[in-house]
Symmetry: C2
């Protein structure tokens, strides 16, 4: 596989670091021929997120950018409002905890206390709150050029990543126009997108002119998170679920899936697509340039 050239990688604000020692480990095994083999596998560790004095969730994560993950998770769950000031984020590597401190008690904490007294579990609440947070959301109109989509996909697929190094991981990339800006990876289902949300919140980044590219499926949760972030376009190599499509149409999210080579399907926001590229000039994905997944991975999933 021909990887991206240096100036392409330099154009990222944050790119994956496949050589980081804490993120992968070499494990000994035996292959189909009975030969001893060594393979690189991704790490996976628990991280417990606290909001002020309240334990919220234990996420399974690869372990990079724990502060962004915590803030992004809380944002995407609607537990941290737009105007709420994050006063500090304390990560403790040994305890595997991260505490997000805000000014004063949040509404969410009140809600959680009330809820847990009656029904005992926050998971339902969390989900309910996410849907609640979407009420009245209408995303800004953002024209999406198909030429940008093709440029982004080609560049992202060739970017050195933990996925190319070890597999078994998800990637999500925040993009603007034809430029990928922040590329996060994680073993956990939606951690990659939460890390991007955390980065955007901490850095005060505008969402209205961005597009999110993901390797995972376009499920309801993925669509809700993107809408909660205020990002008006979401593209993926993978497929759709019916509810993901429904929500995208409701909130005005441009939803593009099954992007492979020249092919894609747009299931929401077709009217915002500017078809300025000739698909036949793009051609099929070259076998050598396909993500490793296309040959060695299995499922269309998030």
């Amino acid at each position: 596989m021909q990887l991206a050239v240096e100036h392409e990688i330099l154009s990222y604000l944050i790119a994956p670091d496949p050589t980081a020692p804490r993120l992968t480990r070499v494990v000994e095994g035996v292959d189909h021929d009975g030969k001893a083999t060594q393979i690189s596998v991704v790490e996976e560790r628990p991280l417990t997120i606290f909001l002020n004095g309240q334990e919220i969730v234990t996420a399974m994560t690869i372990g990079d950018y724990p502060e962004y993950l915590a803030v992004g998770f809380l944002r995407n769950q609607g537990m941290l409002a737009d105007d709420e000031i994050v006063q500090g984020v304390d990560y403790d590597e040994e305890l595997e905890t991260v505490v997000v401190r805000t000014d004063g008690q949040t509404t969410y904490e009140e809600k959680l206390k009330k809820k847990t007294r009656t029904s005992g579990c926050a998971v339902g609440t969390v989900f309910g709150d996410m849907m609640e947070g979407l009420e009245g959301v209408t995303l800004p109109d953002l024209p999406v050029k198909t030429s940008d989509l093709y440029t982004l996909a080609a560049q992202i697929n060739r970017t050195p990543s933990l996925y190319l190094e070890a597999g078994a991981i998800h990637g999500t990339v925040l993009c603007q126009g034809d430029r990928p800006l922040v590329y996060m990876e994680d073993v956990g289902r939606h951690n990659a997108v939460d890390k991007i949300a955390g980065w955007m919140h901490m850095e005060g980044v505008t969402a209205s002119d961005k597009l999110l590219y993901t390797t995972g499926r376009l499920t309801s949760e993925m669509v809700i998170k993107t809408a909660m972030m205020g990002i008006p376009a979401l593209a993926s190599r993978s497929g759709f679920t019916a509810w993901g499509v429904e929500i995208a149409r409701e909130v005005g999210l441009t939803l593009i899936g099954r992007m492979r080579g020249k092919r894609f399907v747009c299931l929401a926001g077709e009217e915002r697509l500017t078809r300025d590229a000739d698909p036949d000039a793009v051609g099929e994905e070259d076998r050598k340039h396909r993500r490793k997944s296309a040959e060695t991975a299995s499922h269309d999933s998030a």
Copy 2:
């Protein structure tokens, strides 16, 4: 693609039903050439699981076998003990709830009440309880023939499924020897395996002579669930995480990943493999017979 012949499909006790109207939906979209297109996408709906009077979790599921999903989830979380008698499982399609009733108050309910009073959220507890449930677990020694692995993979890949119909879904198959018995699919990360756990518990099926085949990654959660079910072998088309490998080695689970055509890697339990097949006689996966994923899906994931 050449699908499995009828007698192969009849050998399943439960096989996927890709024609079931409630599980997929046809959605209108536009393709890369600007042509209107219709694609089949999987459904995704919330299901709230109760244990007696206690709300436990809201899972996102495709919606088939809600009773098995509920019982299996509770089993795999260690909330339903081996000797606990399930007195009833009531599914309400309209309310999207399923209530599992047992004889008396479970320990888990006590724990949850105590826990939620102090830290407010059950998610951490659930995870902690799973690891706790694994303490002292040693799986039975089960020899695994490589000839069986090849036979299973070939048959499962050719079985008509929601995956082949609509993509964006996970599959898990309970197997015995060279025979796939129960093939469950779901959009939700671990719902497919939970549905198998529920089926086994309700039907009183022995675990010690079974193998679990999954399309998803071999993460810690997948390995823990398999061990909680008492199943001594786990095989996947996808890759590994470091912690998944570690736990498999601790509990004596035979762990095989990256199964494609003749290739696979065994990272735990190599001493229990009986290498009775010549990999070169299996050959590479024929392009036509590969799962759709290999060509159109993206990520190695669960």
